[in-house]
Symmetry: C2
Subunit: 263 residues, 2 copies
DNA sequence: ACCTTGTTGTTATGATAACAACAACATTTA
DNA sequence: TAAATGTTGTTGTTATCATAACAACAAGGT
């Protein structure tokens, strides 16, 4: 007869996103703590109303998370967590797979109206999404790639994508500090901005660990990588001539500025 | 201006179990079919009420499934399905991981009351669950393992588990037909029941592809593998002396019966 | 036998929250 | 002005949550 020791909310949330309801989660957790409990005992240790315990247990059996004994009264036991969660994930992964197949079919026959498409500026959220967008840009580069980014961002999120740039493309990049040797595969131009970073007007305007960058491919496609105050990365991407022009000018200015500062 | 071509229900269900609501699924699917749609166009192709489109799009952006353009009116685009589903699954897998850690901690400090535990008969649903239970039984075997199962079940679901039986344990098994050589690692005794299977009284009582089996370890733990009419496997497991005795007698009878039939 | 007592399992019913659907309004753009 | 965009609020609907009452059954005491 244990008390319905309270359950941390994040655990409940996690189990909910695996497809369980609050009661199902509470009952399953309760059963993990007592093997072979009757419905009434389940009610006691889980804190869910006794009447609700029966349908909940039925659903848990259906979901292959608990097993039942053939006694009167019935007794219930939980499948061990590793096995149980695997059972839940198997179902979800199956759904993901079939959904992906169906969505891909839909996606392939989409209409590419391009109705002024090249004038749009998109904002993309999530580091993964930004990185795949960047990878696409790099892969499709034909003449030039220019990038100006903080060293942290460059090393941790961008460097591994540079491999997808075709051999013939000229790559230039600027960063504020660079430790280690220069990547050798590209014609590249590193302009250390270390001196510039120490000026007060610079440090007061830019946070020390801010991750941001500007990327320009073939002078036509641009991506601005920024980071909100919450640390969530987001980016602007566009084929628009307006943004490309702005970024070209911006990067050119930075490079001139950097050269001047170095001297 | 496409019609809100109706969406197959199973796809909606799959996306729901990935954490989307019905509207979110419909809007995402609609956006897959038209790049750079305005809110009104999204409403038209998805069939979702125009007013509801805005909060739904907000949530989809939050979930990193769509990106927004900085124009007026705003235009929206879907992240490609592979990337989008990966984003959803990453969240879910993270939840599964943290949930597993928390549940394991709870599971380790459970009380093993064993209050008459050995007298309980458990029913287990799901092939995976049954197989892990069988594997546990085999692994903990000390003296003997006896099994009587249909050949199909044996080959497809049980054979690979036999490796976990300790070397010193004597293994006997009976099946109705056995093609191929005998597994060599065990002291085993194969009693072909092929002749018996042809008798009318046998075939009329047992379905041709029924998968079922009886397993007995150390004369104390028994598992009955059965299959419902729906093809969903389930099993009875018990330490109880009653069931063990029944199974012992059952298997002994079968073996005598088989020997007599062979002669 | 009868009646309590307590537990098991079931059913009904209201409360709540999230979502779905609709209508009305304010704002912008042409 | 007219049309389209974006916002707000209300209502209907569903699934889950929560409580109460009820019937079935066994154990035990008069």
């Amino acid at each position: 007869m244990k008390a319905p020791r309270d359950v941390p909310t994040p655990l409940l949330e996690s189990l909910k996103s695996l497809g369980l309801t609050k009661y199902e989660a509470l009952v399953y957790i309760g059963l993990l703590r007592m093997v072979g409990a009757t419905a009434t005992e389940v009610h006691e240790i889980s804190g869910v109303p006794r009447a609700s315990v029966y349908p909940v247990l039925d659903r848990l059996v259906q979901k292959e998370l608990v097993s039942v004994s053939h006694t009167t009264p019935k007794r219930f036991g939980a499948i061990p967590p590793d096995q149980g969660i695997e059972n839940l994930m198997r179902r979800i992964e199956g759904d993901a797979e079939s959904a992906q197949a169906a969505l891909d079919a839909i996606y392939r026959e989409r209409r590419l109206d391009n109705r002024g498409d090249q004038e749009l500026i998109w904002t993309i959220y999530g580091e993964e999404n930004i990185r795949t967008c960047l990878a696409d840009m790099f892969r499709s580069a034909e003449r030039s790639v220019e990038l100006f980014a903080t060293g942290d961002l460059l090393r941790r999120s961008v460097l591994s994508l540079l491999d997808s740039i075709p051999e013939s493309v000229q790559v230039e990049f600027v960063t504020e500090r660079w430790t280690g040797e220069q990547p050798s595969r590209f014609h590249l131009q590193v302009l250390p901005l270390a001196a510039l970073c120490e000026t007060p007007s610079f440090t007061e305007r830019m946070l020390p660990y801010e991750r941001s960058g500007v990327f320009l491919v073939d002078d036509t496609r641009a991506l601005l990588w920024m980071e909100g105050v919450d640390g969530q990365p987001s980016a602007l991407y566009s084929d628009s001539v307006g943004l490309a022009l702005f970024v070209r000018r911006h990067i050119a200015t930075i490079m001139e500025w950097a050269k001047a500062a170095v001297q």
